[in-house]
């Protein structure tokens, strides 16, 4: 298996590259990023090669797949490029989040050497409502909300663009086996985790009267899920839950933070003020549904089709 990894210059991308290079079944890893080079990435060698590519340009994507990817014998693609900063918006951000995904998955479907495409999506694409199940399976409604921040709308669109290609490939127009991994929130720095930023504060404000169940994913489990998906031919959407399922108040306590319940309507303005004065990434309006209702990913499909089972608790690391 020779793997092309996008978003390789992010902390998670680097961890994925390291994991792939450590695996015997992986021959060559072609890492792709928008930057000239990523700190922490290995140097170019017999099994690793880095390419700076602007994935929002069709010509660049075409040249990547029919140039370096073909010469490296790439047969598997892992796409994980999503803008992490929640405050960034505009056409350029949309192009990185959505257009790049569309271009890459379409191009992969037409490049005969590529047989596997995996998108790393997230649980934030699911709509959380009081009248919906607490356990979110892959058929759960998605968060279509025109008023939602671009950060969320782009994620839903990128997920759907790939899901649409699953259907097209299923009609026999392409042999590409596509999997979308909807991962629970990875609680680690540099992953764009809203919860990580939230827990970065010494005092964590929480809606008074609500203490929803939260599920968080460790980097190790995320890497396991990615490795299993890359090595499998299973097509479709797969939820990737983490090991830890606990109430929000327990998560705050585990992180050693002070839990202060505040009436819900005050939280959005308080956190907006905090973002303006301290520069926090956490946005309450984006997280309000899960801070009231909660929702846990049902990982039954990933367990059955990919053999994925979360094994790495995050609690001890969080406490440390």
């Amino acid at each position: 298996m020779n793997v092309l990894v996008t978003g390789a210059t992010t902390p998670l991308g680097r961890a994925i590259v390291d994991r792939l290079l450590a695996a015997r079944e992986v021959g060559h890893v072609l890492a792709v990023g928008a930057e000239h080079w990523g700190p922490g990435l290995p140097s170019d060698g017999a099994r690793f090669h880095y390419e700076q590519v602007d994935l929002t340009r069709p010509r660049s994507v075409h040249d990547l797949l029919y140039g370096p990817a073909r010469s490296c014998g790439i047969d598997t693609v892992l796409h994980g490029v999503l803008h992490r900063a929640v405050g960034d918006r505009g056409q350029r951000v949309h192009a990185i989040n959505v257009d790049a995904t569309r271009l890459l998955v379409h191009a992969c479907a037409h490049q005969p050497g590529i047989r596997r495409f995996v998108l790393r999506s997230g649980s934030e694409v699911y709509a959380l409502r009081a009248d919906e199940p607490n356990l979110l399976d892959e058929d759960h409604p998605l968060a279509f909300d025109a008023g939602a921040p671009q950060w969320l709308r782009d994620r839903v669109e990128a997920d759907l663009v790939t899901c649409a290609q699953i259907g097209t490939s299923g009609l026999g127009t392409s042999g590409l086996a596509i999997a979308v991994l909807r991962c629970a929130e990875i609680l680690a720095p540099g992953t764009g985790s809203q919860l990580w930023d939230y827990l970065g504060s010494r005092i964590c404000l929480r809606p008074l009267g609500f203490d929803p169940m939260i599920n968080v994913l460790s980097v190790d489990d995320a890497l396991d899920a990615v490795a299993l998906a890359l090595g499998s031919d299973a097509r479709g959407v797969f939820n990737i839950p983490g090991f830890d399922t606990l109430p929000l108040s327990s998560l705050i306590a585990l992180a050693g933070r002070r839990d202060v319940p505040v009436p819900g309507p005050l939280l959005a303005p308080l956190y907006r003020l905090r973002t303006r004065t301290v520069g926090f990434e956490f946005r309450y309006d984006l997280n309000a549904p899960r801070f009231h209702i909660g929702g846990i990913l049902d990982g039954a499909r990933a367990r059955g089709a990919l053999g994925y089972q979360p094994r790495h608790p995050i609690a001890s690391r969080l406490a440390a």
Partner: protein
């Protein structure tokens, strides 16, 4: 009919699926449930002087569905069933709550910690697939806050319980609860009140329930799945017929229990 007064045995809660931090996936927390049961136990014994009949019909293990009638201004009857089954069998009952409950501050968290689960098909199917005992009130919110003239009449009847019972091969135990209609009669409803997604606001005749004696009658288990494939749960006619069977069984149990109570009062 066998008679079994509620005894004061220590709760032996069985059927808890800890996700690693002392909570199950729906938010059930055993210490909170124990505190709730301990508090409710005093009310149950001293205030409502609850007696139960036929609780041995509740299976000791495996998936099962308690189907009960609703009554009174607020669902106190649900709490009494939960307490009664816990004391008699040690099983945790998962009451199925209406869909607006998660939007209620404090109550949503307390209900979840005490084992209540929002009544969506997927949630209930998950509980049954792992062999839990659930309690459903197929009348829904319409069953609460009935006018006095309609007391103990089974009103709107949802059929989801019958479908799930067939699909998961779970027996249904009809449960007739007497006392809640008299303890907290209702004058009417404010139908235009929809705060937090509530369907209406009940207007009770009194600010608190009267200490009226409650009775809980458990009927014989009904195996709706007998002679049927799980796939039969997809047939609307089969499901509707099965649900009617349960409704009739509950109505009969209610009528017999009321007749027996009237005889004793006389």
């Amino acid at each position: 009919m066998s008679t079994m007064p509620i005894h004061r045995a220590e709760a032996r809660l069985r059927g808890f699926h800890d996700e690693g931090h002392g909570f199950d996936v729906f938010g059930l927390h055993l210490p909170t449930l124990r505190r709730t049961l301990a508090l409710g136990g005093r009310l149950c014994d001293r205030y409502f002087r609850t007696r139960s009949y036929g609780v041995e019909n509740v299976p000791g293990e495996g998936p099962a569905i308690l189907v009960a009638n609703h009554g009174g201004a607020l669902p106190i009857d649900a709490a009494l069933v939960l307490l009664d089954v816990d004391r008699a069998t040690g099983r945790i009952v998962r009451p199925i709550a209406d869909r607006f409950i998660p939007a209620l501050p404090l109550i949503s968290t307390w209900f979840a910690r005490s084992g209540a689960v929002v009544g969506t098909h997927a949630n209930v199917a998950h509980l049954l697939s792992r062999g839990e005992l659930i309690a459903i009130w197929p009348e829904g919110s319409a069953g609460i806050a009935k006018p006095v003239r309609e007391r103990y009449q089974v009103r709107t009847w949802q059929v989801g319980h019958a479908e799930l019972a067939i699909r998961h091969r779970a027996p249904i135990i009809p449960v007739a609860i007497l006392g809640s209609e008299e303890a907290w009669p209702v004058l009417g409803r404010i139908e235009r009140f929809h705060r937090f997604g509530a369907p209406f606001l009940p207007v009770p005749a009194l600010p608190f329930p009267l200490p009226f004696r409650h009775q809980i009658h458990y009927g014989a288990p009904i195996a709706l799945h007998d002679g049927l494939d799980p796939a039969a749960a997809d047939d609307p006619c089969v499901v509707a017929h099965a649900a009617t069977r349960v409704r009739l069984a509950l109505a009969t149990l209610l009528r017999d229990a009321r007749d027996a109570r009237a005889g004793r009062l006389a």
